[in-house]
């Protein structure tokens, strides 16, 4: 028994060691630096005269409307985009899993949005969204709809960004679900079919619950990433019109990189981190994803 315990502990430590060393080495220093900076008025414009201002950055942040607007934009963008992507990803993965012809072709098509260099894809979208020479308005006119200003109009800008994000990231959910579906046992599905269950019943009662751990993880990672989306928003709207699509990350970028006040930008980053940690903790605890379901015992 004692020997077993010793072996077990040695195994655990050895297996976790490389990942731990790498992550501590990479993240500890940057985290401490931005954490400390967030309590100072450090600015690259006058680096010699930095003072500790304690919570002033945070208080300033809480008092600014721009922060709350950015927070709301970020939450709306994340929730809507991730919701659409998860529904689409799970449905398409299940349909593809049941398909038996041209699977390789379809899967390759589906992965294209993840494979193409984002810079090229995003600028192509900008071209397609262009009000006068874009292909989207060309189709709108062809189908008898009013042409839209897409990225420039307050009513469609956020919607357009969600559209692009959905195009780019649904394949991520899809891929995880395909991997999940391929690793699930066949018996429950076959048993349900023998019992005469309809496809819809199988999907709701068997596929979704069995796939749930994968859907949960895909949703979690997609939300973490969507919460700090930067490039598509920066290229397509730069936060406009006005500040209607300016997310927290763009707000931090504006202060950190354009205005060079790293302290203030650091405090935005820390607030984003705290929000993500709290939401992720609640999500993981509720879904019991923090600890293993079964453990190796002796």
């Amino acid at each position: 028994m004692n020997h077993f315990k010793k072996e077990r502990n040695k195994f655990i430590i050895l297996m976790l060691m490389p990942a731990t060393i790498l992550l501590v080495g990479l993240t500890l220093f940057p985290f401490i630096v931005s954490f400390i900076l967030s309590f100072t008025d450090y600015s690259l414009l006058r680096p010699g005269q930095t003072k500790f201002i304690f919570l002033d950055n945070y208080i300033e942040l809480m008092k600014t409307d721009e922060f709350w607007i950015a927070l709301r934009v970020t939450v709306v963008f994340t929730v809507l985009a991730v919701f659409v992507q998860v529904v689409l990803g799970v449905v398409i993965a299940t349909l593809l899993h049941n398909e038996n012809t041209n699977i390789s072709f379809l899967r390759t098509m589906y992965l294209l949005p993840l494979a193409i260099t984002p810079i090229a894809a995003t600028f192509t979208f900008r071209l397609m969204f262009n009000p006068s020479l874009g292909v989207l308005n060309y189709f709108m006119k062809l189908l008898g709809f009013e042409p839209q200003a897409w990225l420039a109009s307050p009513s469609t800008a956020l919607f357009s960004l969600i559209l692009v994000d959905t195009w780019q990231w649904t394949p991520f959910i899809l891929l995880i679900c395909l991997g999940g579906l391929a690793s699930l046992p066949n018996e429950p599905f076959e048993a349900a079919k023998v019992d005469g269950a309809s496809s819809w019943q199988i999907f709701i009662k068997i596929t979704v619950p069995m796939l749930y751990p994968f859907i949960g993880l895909a949703l979690l990672f997609r939300s973490i990433d969507a919460f700090k989306t930067f490039d598509i928003i920066y290229v397509l709207t730069s936060g406009g019109p006005g500040i209607l699509t300016r997310t927290l990350n763009l707000y931090a970028f504006k202060h950190g990189i354009e205005f060079l006040s790293m302290g203030y930008a650091g405090s935005i980053a820390i607030v984003m981190l705290i929000i993500t940690i709290v939401v992720a903790q609640i999500f993981l605890r509720k879904n019991k994803l923090l600890t293993p379901k079964e453990t190796l015992k002796q």
Binding site: L26, L112, P213, L248, L296
Partner: protein, 268 residues
């Protein structure tokens, strides 16, 4: 009828995924005048000039090589380091294991804007700025959370009895891990491998700040075709299209275990 409906949905989704790429390919075969024509043109005289320009451009080949080295290195080391950690977190409970798992996850939560400057300083001091290994380390760090957590999910789906039986038969933890658990998790390794490769291949911000002169990956290189005054549509779209070929080749190689019933089904 049901099969027919399913196919319609699947092909509509394929069309939706493909259309922006079609537009990119379309643009790559147009003259710069046609590319920005009003209204947009579907039928035009295709030209190969953009492709010839790109193939002749040694810098683009350089981007391609740098991206390939970094993305392959990231996938290999990421899986090598991440899989063991994922397995332990899926199969053992120890003091602080939940917090440890969450800490790994939390490394993905910090907005990169806050990390970039300290990262740059750290790399400068270590002398690994603008090197392949430096960028590989950064990309492994950025993606390790996703590798560990997704692989952990896949290990939890494997019935634990198989591993217990192997252990009772006298195999050590380590033998059980690489002889039983790793082969059984191939669909997961395949999906996670593809994801890691694509994340690294397309990562822009860190590649720009930690690389850029000696090591310039394709996202950074292609950004060079976007000028302040003008976007060089021809070269941007032609090189992006060409860069898809190696990616699709990699995805094709790696996707085999994703095909249903190849692993667990044959095992039982």
């Amino acid at each position: 009828m049901k099969t027919f409906l399913r196919r319609i949905v699947l092909y509509i989704f394929a069309l939706w995924s493909f259309f922006p790429l079609y537009w990119l390919l379309n643009t790559s075969l147009k003259t710069s005048k046609d590319a920005l024509a009003r209204p947009p043109t579907f039928i035009f005289k295709p030209i190969l000039k953009n492709y010839i320009d790109v193939i002749k451009n040694n810098e683009v080949w350089g981007y391609f090589l740098d991206s390939l080295i970094v993305a392959l290195g990231t996938t290999f080391f990421g899986l090598l380091i991440g899989i063991p950690a994922a397995y332990v977190l899926a199969r053992f409970k120890f003091k602080g294991s939940a917090d440890f798992g969450f800490w790994i996850l939390s490394t993905r939560m910090t907005p990169p804007i806050a990390m970039l400057i300290p990262f740059f300083i750290m790399y400068l001091k270590l002398g690994i700025l603008d090197t392949h290994i430096g960028l590989i380390i950064a990309h492994v760090g950025l993606n390790l959370s996703i590798i560990v957590w997704l692989m952990r999910g896949f290990y939890e789906e494997i019935p634990i009895e198989i591993e217990e039986a192997s252990y009772v038969d006298g195999s050590s933890f380590f033998q059980t891990f690489y002889k039983i658990a790793v082969p059984l998790s191939l669909p997961g390794i395949s999906a996670v491998g593809i994801i890691t490769f694509l994340f690294s291949w397309n990562e822009f911000l860190f590649a720009l700040v930690l690389g850029d002169s000696v090591v310039r990956t394709s996202p950074v290189g292609l950004y060079g075709f976007v000028g302040y005054q003008k976007i060089y549509w021809g070269q941007l779209s032609a090189s992006a299209s060409l860069l898809l070929i190696p990616v699709l080749f990699f995805v094709f190689l790696f996707q085999k275990p994703l095909i249903k019933g190849l692993t667990l089904g044959s095992f039982k």
